[in-house]
């Protein structure tokens, strides 16, 4: 261990650092899912979108030399996946959950197919802001190196909450998500609104994928996602479809995910791997604790197929 030995203080610091580092893809995917679900549709294909975004972002960043071009490419690819999902679901008698699962498999499969040549090459990383410049403790400094995308994601969460509350677009998405009949009575086209909500949600998930391959862990391989795209769906339910809660939920989840490695680094060698399961146990526990057998989930969009 080089530098200062800070002992057990390493654990909370690692959790904070992990919360910031690990949570970013969760923030983007859950915000995207939140937007899509608020419009009354569920997109389970975001896991595939995330993996494809990671591959597309990495490839474009490698070829252009610009990580931001990679992020843009990932967002575009994600949007195309979202449009595909939205278009398929606007056809009669199509179930959004089944389409989502199909697109999840399609996205990961096609990403592995096109991604083979990019496993070896090294693409440029996204820049980080060193918020820990004031400290001499290297662990703390490392934990406070905050990626720009994290900041954008955090701002986006508040922006989306504001959008749902105070803009015409936001209210329209909520109307469509809550009552197709009311939306039609107002002269809105629910399918059109859902198509673009799903597209925007897909773009956000693509950006989440670019973060994985371009910053943390920062390389492209087939095991890059550990189910972030699927966990984000649970996060949205746990966050009660509120974008700001999505941010907190993602941070909590990221922090729990850092528990295992943090314990390992301070020398807890026995059973630490159990802590790798912490985020999943935490999510399961929270979902059980906050659900009710007799009441519909509060805040759930009325048109969502899983809450109907």
């Amino acid at each position: 261990m080089n530098g200062l030995d800070i002992g057990w203080w390493g654990v909370p610091i690692a959790i904070i650092g992990g919360a910031i580092r690990v949570s970013t893809p969760f923030i983007f995917v859950s915000l995207g899912e939140c937007l899509t679900e608020r419009s009354g549709r569920i997109n389970l294909g975001l896991e595939g979108t995330l993996v494809f975004g990671a591959m597309a972002g990495y490839a474009v960043a490698f070829h252009t030399g610009s990580p931001w071009a990679g992020v843009a490419a990932a967002a575009l690819a994600g949007m195309l996946f979202g449009l595909l999902h939205g278009w398929l679901c606007s056809l009669p008698k199509v179930n959004d959950i089944a389409v989502g699962i199909a697109l999840m498999l399609f996205g990961t499969g096609i990403a592995f197919f096109f991604g083979k040549p990019y496993i070896q090459p090294v693409a440029p990383d996204l820049p980080a802001i060193p918020l820990g410049w004031w400290t001499d403790i290297p662990q703390l400094e490392a934990a406070l190196r905050v990626n720009v995308l994290f900041v954008i994601g955090a701002i986006l969460a508040f922006a989306m909450a504001w959008m749902f509350k105070a803009t015409r677009v936001g209210l329209i998405v909520r109307v469509v998500g809550d009552s197709t009949d009311a939306a039609r009575a107002m002269g809105l086209d629910p399918n059109w609104v859902r198509l673009w909500s799903t597209a925007a949600g897909g773009a956000l998930a693509g950006i989440g994928g670019a973060y994985l391959s371009l910053y943390y862990p920062g390389s492209w391989n087939e095991g890059i996602s550990s189910g972030q795209g699927l966990m984000a769906v649970a996060l949205v339910i746990f966050a009660r479809w509120n974008p700001i809660n999505c941010l907190w939920a993602a941070l909590l989840f990221g922090g729990a995910g850092a528990l295992g490695p943090a314990l390992q680094s301070v020398g807890v060698s026995e059973g630490y791997y159990l802590f790798f399961a912490a985020p999943y146990v935490l999510t399961l526990g929270l979902l059980v604790a906050t659900s009710s057998p007799t009441q519909a989930i509060s805040g759930a969009p009325g048109e969502l197929s899983i809450t109907k």
């Binding site: 209210l171 909520r174 109307v175 998500g177 009949d181 009575a185």
Partner: protein, 510 residues
Amino acid sequence: MSALDQPDSAPIGVETVGMTMKFGAFVALDNVSIQVRPGTFHALLGENGAGKSTLVKCMMGFYHPTSGQLIVGDREVSIDDPRAAHAHGLGMVYQHFTLVPSLTGAENLVINRPDVPAVIDWADERGALADFMATMPFAVPLDVPVSRLSAGEKQKLELLKQLYLGRKFLILDEPTSVLTPAEADELLGMVRQMTVQAGLTVLMITHKFREVTAYADEVSVLRRGRYVGGGKVSDLSHADMAALMIGEKTLSQKAARSGVPGDAVLSLRGVQAVDRSGLKQISLDSLDVRAGEIVGVAGVSGNGQTELMELLAGQRPYQAGAIAVKGQPYDASRTQARAANVRYLPEEPLHNACAPRMSVAQNMAFRDFDEDGQGKPRFWLDTGAMRAKARDLVAAYNVKTTSIDSPIAALSGGNVQRAVLARELTGQVDLLVISNPCFGLDFSAVAEIRARIMAARNSGTAVLLISEDLDEILELSDRVLVMSEGRIAFETPIGAADIGEIGQHMAGHA
């Protein structure tokens, strides 16, 4: 806000002239002319299917009348869609809610405006809403999601929405059907006040006489698509209105009856339950059905008949009271129904009494597929016997099906009804509970099914017939009960039945 060319204070009147609406060969409206004078509270009375909804849908542009004119103010207008109606200041409050549940009242009001800005300045909007609310005679909490409002508050908010959007002529489609009586009185009192003070004109669809006499200025009555009368409410008695609404019904010829009623088979005592909406109480003090008689339960839909059926079928829990069949407590389990020979024919049998995709033969075996003729449970099905029995029943009840193996959902409504009746009437039947058995069936099927019910009665079955079709009740029943507001409001033997009196009790006037 208002798209009217009239000055804001002037109330507008609406008149239909010779309005006719045909759906294929069916005439839903036949040359209906009604006049709603400016600033009045006008009631549109009629039984189910009398054409009230069709008339207002023609006014609102949902339907395009086959012929006839609509006059708004003093000009003839053509209304092609609801937007055009809105532009003329016409608005409608529907029976069901059209508010978005998760949005707050304020959000619901603002998003319905045609000119919502891209970014909503809530401080500004709240100010404008507060000014608007100050001019209204009632307040509704605008900052909580609509889903947390009571039914009465929602209905008030629907009304507020129409006024906020600048509508001057409001059509209310049975606005009190989802409200408690107290909420209904409050709402209608406010509407009445606004017609007097704020120059609003109101046309209210209803079939409750009490609401007409208490709140309306004038009334128009429709029957079978025709205008049959109306005028000032103060000139008409309830009996007059009931006579107009129900018409000169003569008791249709009774099917042959034989036998005398025996002992009570079904008895309900002091049963208390909550209705479907969870707001109102179903309260049945005493109901008996004796062997060899048909007891008809009449009533306007939504007054507790569905709940009565559910109580008897064990689908609805009750808080107090007792249900007994042949003196034994009865909770409608399969064992009890079998032991007491209780059979059911619920409304819409394809959905409530069949497995739509299973075959006709399988559906016909539902009562006894799991026992072996001697009342013992069986493990292996005897498909041969099931099919043989189904073939016999299909022939005996004249069920038209391509094969006993076709899914029952492929049959027409009348044939599903016959198939279910065949199943339910096989073997010893001591109590038969029926709900709207002839709804939507053609004439010959109706006659046949009624004859079967009568035959069951004559052979000693106790029959409880719940029906919204008064003709059916009068034709079949030995005793008539009227349900209103979740209670049995009236009872009469068929010999002494007076249609006017039954109609008044159905309309909620005791």
